[in-house]
């Protein structure tokens, strides 16, 4: 090497020693610490916030019952039937009790289903939301990426015009409209399926387990919500992937790759696709965090037993402990998905280094 070339050196980023001494500076430690602080902050915030909502579980229940035509005595008798809630307890004391329990992994019991552990509620409803919104998100993302890259690569063609127009229309319509259309047109009018039968998470009476019967029933019941979410989200993925791809197509390294005589397949995947996907992967990971909250309206229309429906019910009834438990799950979900986004980005994009500084 001559003197001039010696001036260039591979930038040294890797050789940070990985001793245990440096654990406090390590990515893992940083992530765990950040996670704990975020969870604490979010938990504290929601704890006080939910209690600042107008009304409390008892008064809300009485108002609600009387709205259903109950007399004042009936409403009071029902409200007397044991909510797990003492409005007179000082808030700070409630807070410290809650935090002490939380540290021990105890989420408490539901206020409006007195005696039912919040953990049980979450375990009961979370899987359905994960199944429906999660698979819809992944399908929607994959389809969107694929179509987006295709119409960007062959832009100006018939396929591009049709799909772009379709995607713009699809993404402009909110998910509940699809839910209503699916039920009323495909279900009630055209009778493509039995509206009642498609409700719920699984056909009643099929024992849970890894059986073909159970799993196919789960898939069948998830179909309508998944289609709804798919229709509502795929357009946005298509359009973002298209614009991301178009900007990547203008990059020099694509021209270089073409000049090098690379096959179109290789250019599309390793050169265009991988670079165009980068911004979308971050968004995907962040969306995964919010998957947990589900979609209240869609779950209501299909009576799908997800966490969104449960959260909406808990908020409406001011079930503070259930709300907190679900918000905690969502917080953790968002944190985990952000870590996931970091990891995936670190894997897809070598410029992103997890062990920086």
């Amino acid at each position: 090497m001559d003197a001039i070339a010696a001036g260039d050196a591979i930038s040294d980023e890797k050789p940070v020693s990985k001793n245990t001494k440096n654990f406090t500076k390590s990515y893992t430690f940083r992530v765990i610490l950040q996670g704990i602080i975020t969870i604490w902050a979010a938990t504290t915030f929601t704890f006080f916030l939910v209690r600042l909502l107008p009304g409390n579980p008892v008064s809300i229940r009485i108002d609600q019952l009387m709205q259903q035509g109950y007399t004042i005595e009936e409403a009071r008798n029902q409200a007397a039937t044991l909510f797990d809630f003492n409005p007179d307890e000082p808030m700070l004391q409630q807070y410290s009790t809650y935090m002490v329990n939380l540290v021990q992994g105890n989420l408490g019991t539901s206020i409006t289903s007195a005696g039912t552990p919040v953990r049980d509620q979450i375990l009961r409803f979370l899987p359905w939301t994960l199944i429906s919104v999660g698979s819809a998100l992944l399908i929607s993302f994959s389809v969107g990426i694929l179509l987006g890259i295709m119409i960007a690569y062959w832009r100006g063609g018939v396929l591009d015009n049709v799909i772009t127009a379709l995607a713009s229309i699809l993404s402009g319509i909110p998910d509940y409209v699809y839910a209503i259309l699916i039920i009323l047109i495909a279900g009630v009018q055209l009778q493509w399926f039995n509206v009642g039968e498609m409700r719920g998470g699984v056909t009643q009476g099929i024992p849970a387990g890894f059986t073909v019967e159970y799993i196919s029933s789960v898939i069948k019941h998830a179909l309508l919500p998944v289609i709804t979410y798919l229709l509502a989200t795929v357009g946005v993925w298509i359009l973002s992937m298209k614009s991301s791809t178009i900007s990547v197509l203008g990059e020099d390294y694509i021209n270089v790759a073409k000049a090098r005589g690379l096959s179109e397949g290789r250019i599309l995947t390793a050169y265009v696709g991988r670079n165009a996907m980068l911004p979308l992967v971050t968004r995907l990971a962040i969306s995964i965090g919010f998957v947990l909250s589900g979609s209240v309206i869609v779950e209501r229309f299909f009576e799908y037993p997800g966490l969104g429906l449960q959260l909406a019910r808990a908020v409406g009834a001011r079930d503070y402990t259930t709300m907190q438990g679900i918000f905690l799950v969502i917080t953790i979900g968002v944190i985990v998905s952000n870590i996931l986004a970091d990891l995936v980005m670190g894997w897809l994009d070598p410029r992103v280094s997890l062990e920086d500084n």
């Binding site: 001036g7 591979i10 980023e13 073409k258 000049a259 090098r260 096959s263 290789r266 070598p350 410029r351």
Partner: protein, 338 residues
């Protein structure tokens, strides 16, 4: 360099235009040249004169709105076989590119795919032309050494781990991996510091000597062009307005535009620093000026320049299209005599 050697790339009357919002832009207009084995042709001119469009036309990688309107591009392989580049099918073109004519693009920062290793780019290139991994790697390591890089470290690095100068040399090495006869270099030394620029030019000269390939060297930097080229072509408004052996063009320029370029370049040989920037700006290629396209900015311009397109005059290997080539030669001689 003598001009008797075999021609490897013969371009005749090449014209290319592309569609802009306001109309059709004639970016390359009736360009002809013969590139000989081992020859370095430097194309100089201001930015916007059509150099890069010419480049992309030569490898048929023009933008989708562009069109090669006319001309022929005859490429002669080592075996003496003639290839009509403009008639190649997409699949054949793909095979032709890089193995016969390679290119070092402008802007080393973005010319490498940021998400894959240099090794993968080497393998991709090899694979597209039927060269297995081992052979690709062997060739790449050898070339990296020749361009004075630490072969193994660079081979396994990601682009962002390399400095700008290193990337430029990687691109240079990559362009030679399939042993092409012609390498087109678009401003290969732009955007790197002066020391790196020197180093790249040194490397380039060495390589050219060892591997004996021809170069089409695009630059707006006359000093660099003078150092590396055998032949200089001055490009203005999409046309080659002057072309000739490097010494003739530099010492006896015959086109007013070439002279302006020379006057605008800093000269270390002259004591007093006398820089004359060229007045005005490059012409509108959608609606170009009549007659000689340079007349609006030319100090020698007369009526004839406004109305009549100057014919091409030949003087041996030196050719020029200027109504006042004699005046230009005189003026240059005066400046040099000072």
């Amino acid at each position: 360099m003598t001009m008797n050697q075999d021609v490897v790339f013969s371009v005749k009357n090449l014209s290319m235009s592309y569609l802009a919002d306001r109309g059709r832009v004639r970016a390359v207009n009736n360009v002809s040249f013969d590139l000989h084995k081992g020859e370095t042709l430097a194309v100089i001119g201001e930015s916007g004169c059509g150099k890069s469009s010419l480049n992309l036309s030569l490898i048929r990688q023009i933008p989708r709105t562009a069109e090669i309107e006319s001309g022929t591009m005859d490429y002669i392989t080592r075996e003496g076989q003639h290839i009509d580049v403009l008639k190649l099918s997409p699949a054949r073109l793909r095979k032709f590119l890089w193995s016969e004519v390679a290119m070092v693009f402008q802007g080393a920062q973005n010319a490498l795919n940021p998400v894959i290793r240099i090794a993968d780019m080497v393998y991709d290139t090899g694979k597209a032309h039927g060269i297995n991994k081992a052979e690709s790697k062997k060739r790449a390591l050898r070339l990296f050494e020749q361009v004075r890089l630490d072969p193994m470290r660079v081979f396994n690095a990601y682009p962002h781990e390399l400095s700008g100068g290193m990337r430029q040399r990687v691109l240079l090495a990559l362009s030679l991996i399939l042993r092409p006869q012609v390498v087109i270099m678009d401003e290969p030394t732009t955007g790197v510091d002066i020391l790196t620029q020197r180093s790249i030019l040194e490397v380039l000269k060495e390589l050219r000597m060892q591997l004996n390939f021809s170069i089409i060297f695009i630059s707006h930097d006359l000093a660099v062009a003078a150092e590396i080229a055998d032949t200089i072509a001055t490009m203005y408004a999409g046309e080659f307005v002057e072309m000739g052996p490097v010494r003739q063009v530099f010492y006896n320029p015959r086109h007013a535009y070439t002279l302006s370029l020379l006057n605008a370049a800093p000269r270390l040989s002259v004591g007093e620093e006398e820089l004359h920037s060229i007045k005005g700006s490059p012409p509108d290629l959608i609606d170009p000026p009549s007659g000689c396209k340079f007349h609006e900015r030319c100090n020698f311009a007369t009526d004839i320049c406004q109305h009549t397109v100057p014919p091409i005059e030949r003087d041996g290997a030196h050719q020029v299209a200027c109504h006042h080539s004699d005046l230009v030669r005189k003026e240059r001689a005066e400046v040099l005599n000072k």
